[in-house]
Each structure stands twice: as structure tokens, then as C-alpha cells.
Symmetry: C2
Subunit: 194 residues, 2 copies
């Protein structure tokens, strides 16, 4: 766990995904770790922070989430473009060596029996909020964020710093096929009184 990985206050954790990045979802069960890319991840509540992820039933990682009741949401960055693509298009069911083939390196965070992917911009440890009907009907999973961390080279003091971090730190926003956009220019609106 490198020295740039710093805790994020839970009241600010929703900001890690508020801008709609494509994420990685990892889980562990029965001695097996896996990671998949997920374009459909979304904030659900601020405090305590909750989020939603859509996990297709053909995804092996989904089976680990269902079995263990927990998962990690990661915010990958431009330096991980090909890693993200590979983790989203290859299945453990076809290739149990998928993580190594994609170049994913895992690390542990003490107190969490979960696999974390090195090199991301942020990590959100989540407990599955069980809602069997919507899991079955829509592949939609709800999670409560129990602890969050970010790399302080791109997120610190509760704010993203894409403007000043290098371009390799920008979040990825998947469109279709192998096509993505990086997050772009910062802009501020005037917040007017009610």
C-alpha cells in the first residue's frame, strides 16, 4: 500500500464517483479474487454513502459479490486504459489467468478481506445491501461504502485535482466498444441563493 493512498472521509466518498467514471469492481470468495470493469456505477446516497453497480449475470465477479456480500469499487485512470478494457472484456470463466494477463496487481488493506487493484485513483470498500428482487430482475446491486481511500496525487482534501495532476490521472468514461473519453476541463457555475 503506497504512501500516496490516503483515507477519504465517508461524507465526501460519493464525490469519488459523482462525475460518472467507469469503474473496476473486485471481490473475493473462497480464495478466489476477481476484477471486472463496470460502466454502470452510480451514486445513490451521500451519508452514509451508497452506490449502485450493474453486474451482468455472465460475470464471474458477480458470483463472488453474491457469495461474499462485499466488493470494492475502484476509479481507474488513463494510465490504466488498456487494463480497464481487458478486465471488462475477458472473463475468468474463459481464462482463470485473466488478472495476470491484463497486468492487474492486487494489494491488501488491513482489516479488509478484499482484493484492491494497484495504480487506481480511488478505492471504495462496499457492503452489499441485499435486494434480491432487483438483483435478479435487473442485475442491479446496491452497496454501502464502509471505507474509502484515494491517491493524494489526484484527490485530496475532499476534491479531485484533475486540472493539476498529470493527464494519466484522468478518469475514464466508457462509451462503447474500446472507445472511452477521459474527464476534461474543470468549470464552475455560480451557486445562487434560493
Amino acid at each position: 500500500m503506497n504512501g500516496h493512498i490516503k483515507p477519504v472521509d465517508l461524507s465526501r466518498a460519493s464525490r469519488l464517483v459523482n462525475h460518472g467514471p467507469t469503474v473496476l469492481v473486485s471481490a473475493r470468495h473462497g480464495g478466489v479474487d476477481n476484477v471486472m470493469a463496470v460502466a454502470w456505477c452510480c451514486g445513490l446516497d451521500f451519508d452514509p454513502p451508497k452506490l449502485t453497480v450493474v453486474l451482468d449475470r455472465i460475470a464471474h465477479t458477480r458470483s463472488l459479490v453474491e457469495a461474499s456480500g462485499k466488493f470494492v469499487v475502484h476509479v481507474p485512470n488513463v494510465a490504466q486504459l488498456q487494463l480497464t478494457e481487458d478486465l471488462g472484456t475477458h472473463s475468468f470463466y474463459d481464462d482463470p489467468g485473466k488478472l495476470a494477463a491484463a497486468g492487474a496487481t492486487l494489494f491488501d488493506i488491513p482489516g479488509h478481506d478484499l482484493p484492491f487493484v494497484e495504480g487506481c485513483s480511488a478505492w471504495l470498500a462496499c457492503e452489499l445491501i441485499r435486494e434480491p428482487h432487483i438483483e435478479d430482475a435487473y442485475d442491479l446491486f446496491l452497496g454501502q461504502v464502509t471505507e474509502a481511500w484515494a491517491d493524494d496525487r489526484v484527490f485530496r482534501n475532499g476534491h479531485w485535482h484533475f486540472e493539476t495532476a498529470g493527464p494519466e490521472w484522468r478518469s475514464l468514461h466508457h462509451v462503447a466498444g474500446g472507445h472511452y473519453y477521459a474527464i476534461g476541463e474543470a468549470m464552475d457555475a455560480v451557486r445562487k441563493p434560493d
Copy 2:
């Protein structure tokens, strides 16, 4: 309805929100139209396309969605930064003249009894998929996209063209307060065979 607004094939409609933009949600009931900004909107399925939106119970627009069972998801752009901020921070409950104050102009699309906001990049007409438990417990609403349109100056042939459209067409990605990022640079990963 200006001549640049073109239908989007439903099989491609999920691409309109796949990259995680902040959206506008509008609805109509009993002769009242309203629009709110929503950062938490997410794809849910491809074909037929479905999506999720989180609508806080303090939002007047939510009451119109609940009463009418339908809504429009809009993808606003940089030219609409202040409009988006104003629609997200002011409530019809406090100011029934909110739309005019924000400078929102509505238009109709034949066959849809719904209010559409001029100047956006894309519009998705949705029917509410009733799931009362998750609406009540999480403020989470599911919609099936019944028809979609985009402005062909920024989305055409099933693809976003942020790279070649002017910077005013970039989508908005809200972080917190009045702070947003525009979508940025396009990038392609190599899609490797299984």
C-alpha cells in the same frame, strides 16, 4: 423542434448516458411542467434500453414522475452549465417561476405528452418501471427508454463527436457544489479477442 434533432436508434440509446454525464430530468402532470438536474443517472440495460435516476423526495419533479409514470432524461452541455446548476439548486416548491428564472425553454415532440428542454445534446423519453420498494427506500427510480433523440452536431450515427463539435457541446459531470468537469479527450483501447 429544430432540424438538428434526430432520432437515435434504441439499440444505441444507452450510449447517450454511458459516459456518466449529469442529466436533466423533466416531467409533466396536471398541466404542470418541471425540470431538475440529476447527477445520479446511470445505464441499466441495452436493448430495450433502461436507466436509473435518483430523485430526492424533496424534489417537486419527483412528484410529477410518480403521478404521470413518465419522464425525460436530457444530456445538457457546457453551454447550459448555469442552467443545469440553477435547475439543480432551486425548487418549484419555493419558486414556481424556477424554469423561467433559469432560462429554460421547453418544446414539445409530437406523440409525447412530456416537456423537453431546448438546447440539450440528447433527450430520452422514459416510462417509469414501477418498483415501489426501491423508490421508497432509496429514492431510486427505474425507467425504460421508449424513444431517444440527439442533436446531430454532437451525436450522430450512434456516436458522440465531442472531439469535433465545439467545446460548448461537451457533457457536464458534476462533482460537488457548483463544481463540474466537462468531458474530455477521446481515447481508444485495443479490444483483444477472448
